[in-house]
Amino acid sequence: MKRVRAEVLSTRRLGAYHSLTLVAPEIAERARPGQFLAIAMPEGGDFLLRRHFSIHQTSRRGGWAGTIEFIVDPSGPGTERLARVKAHESLDVIGPLGKAFSYPKKLTNCLLIAEGRGAASLYFLAQELKARRKRVDMIVGAENFERVFKPIEGKRLSQTISILTTDGSLGDRGSVIDALPSMVESCGTDVIYASAPPETLEKIAAFCSDRKIPAQIAVEENFGCGLGLCFSCVVPVGRKDGSGYDNVRSCVDGPVFNPARVLWDRWLTDQPKMLPTPPEGLPVVRSWPG
């Protein structure tokens, strides 16, 4: 892991997303799919913490300085600010961070499931899998066509691909889960990789456990540091010996996990349910336990 002040080589819009390419040879050399970068916010705004981005692409070719590309989904004040960063500015970057996806030794038919910006790391993974002569199939989903990440690249990288959008504006109408059984069937899937919002990951985990398909998923949690210092980013993971679970830091022990070991109920439920609009009569919360 390296810390550098990296020049922004180029930026471009990709539908709803913004791609930033940094000159960072030392990071590019080490980066593997599933790992992420911790980017300090440019000065002058009221941002404190770093923001974290999956590594989408590296280039170490020829005589050129190695570069690294990541994808910004402008979904809050910090990511909106970073989407406005221009070429030739420089950013304070730490990376590569976290555990990467591991490649299957024996199994060959890989199904990659990406929702929204989750495709950024999975396309990188697809390349590496193909370089290892694995078969790659994909399910790529999003709310609408603007949020389907580089569909043409997806097609190029995969043997077969199923694209779905919630509003049907690209591919089939539906979610990645809808295509899962038939894709697994038709592709003869041996192993599944996924990067998606937690609710989708939970469903994929249930499916894989049902069908006994080995899988790896990349999760997101609110990070304080991304460096293993603060224990902000934990995910409940069952111990190997079956004797309970630990809250492990997704920034150093993840973000890639075996979904079979994540305690989904504990991680996702008992959080207040977030309905898009409140029901007619909001429940009055009267007692305050503990």
Partner: protein
């Protein structure tokens, strides 16, 4: 001033630091992570996360969110418990050969006593920091150490048993901070860490929910600095001889100098370390640059030296 021999080391009643900048509790990982991120020999000390008698899994996520010039957080003191800490984490923290201050957190007198006894004569422990901002299960109170009598009782017990200096990290919201400070010093503390984390709540309006899984949490970062400065100032005015670590919102060398001027002997850096693990080193360099500019030889020369008006500062009758 040429020829001034300049040092930024500082001695706090039995605890000697090569720079007056330590990494605050809960922001130093498990002893494994920092070594790759910062040259630890240039950090004054490291405070461990708060360690409890038994392992704690901590609270649900999210555990951190941003607020104006600050962060709101609650980890629920996730830690492996004292035994595992002493066996595994402490040796790793101590490897860098800089002072390790172990933060201990209990919910009863008995827990503090047992924690202290398990740290007696343990190699690699330079000092204890006693976390007093958690709940008091014994007396059924929300905050262990915000009342002088109870705080003194705990610190007295820890102080009598400890084989290293004991710093009391006093809760941020006390009706009379100076009274609590005086009581714990009388009870045998070696020094103080001011302030403990500031109780806070983050709300996400569009989702109608709290920002944190634990609902309530604590506010850290630059936002709290003026509050911490006031606490340090008042306590150090009352007891200028007491070593004080100032913690809360220190991000730059100038911020640290502000704390020293208000009366701190050294500072701890939490949030800024999360953002930039080299911050504690840069802050020490900033203090050094300030001393050089002012022609001063050591941090002790600015400690508590805020220039005050000669007349009473309070409002006058009309």
């Amino acid at each position: 001033m040429a020829g001034v021999k300049r040092t930024i080391g500082v001695a706090l009643d039995g605890l000697t630091l090569t720079t007056p900048v330590a990494i605050a509790s809960g922001c130093a990982g498990t002893g494994r992570e920092l070594a790759g991120l910062v040259d630890l020999h240039r950090v004054g000390a490291v405070v461990s996360r708060s360690i409890t008698l038994h392992p704690r899994k901590g609270t649900r996520t999210p555990r951190i969110a941003e607020s104006p010039s600050g962060v709101v957080w609650e980890t629920g003191l996730q830690n492996p418990g004292i035994e595992s800490f002493v066996a595994e984490e402490l040796p790793r923290l101590a490897r860098a050969q800089i002072p390790v201050i172990v933060s201990i957190a209990g919910t009863s007198m008995e827990e503090y006593v047992r924690l202290t006894s398990l740290l007696q004569n343990v190699a690699g422990v330079a000092a204890l920091e006693v976390y007093l901002s958690g709940p008091d299960d014994e007396l059924d109170r929300e905050v262990m150490g915000s009342r002088p009598d109870r705080a003194a009782e705990i610190i007295g017990a820890v102080g009598r048993m400890s084989t290293v200096p004991v710093f009391a990290k006093l809760p941020a919201l006390s009706t009379d901070l100076v009274e609590v400070a005086t009581a714990v010093m009388r009870a045998g503390a070696s020094g103080l860490t001011l302030l403990g984390p500031v109780p806070a709540l983050g709300v996400n309006a569009s989702r109608l929910r709290p920002e944190l899984g634990a609902v309530t949490g604590y506010l850290s970062g630059p936002a709290v600095r003026p509050l911490v400065l006031r606490g340090v100032f008042e306590v150090s005015r009352a007891m200028p001889e007491v070593p004080i670590f100032a913690v809360g919102g220190v991000t730059t060398g100038e911020d640290a100098v502000e704390m020293l001027l208000a009366g701190a002997w050294a500072v701890q850096v939490g949030t800024a370390t999360l953002v930039d693990p080299v911050a504690p080193v840069k802050i020490a360099q900033g203090i050094h640059a300030y001393l050089r500019e002012k022609g001063l030889a050591s941090p002790a020369e600015i400690r508590g030296r805020l220039r005050l008006p000669t007349a009473s500062p309070s409002g006058e009758p009309g």
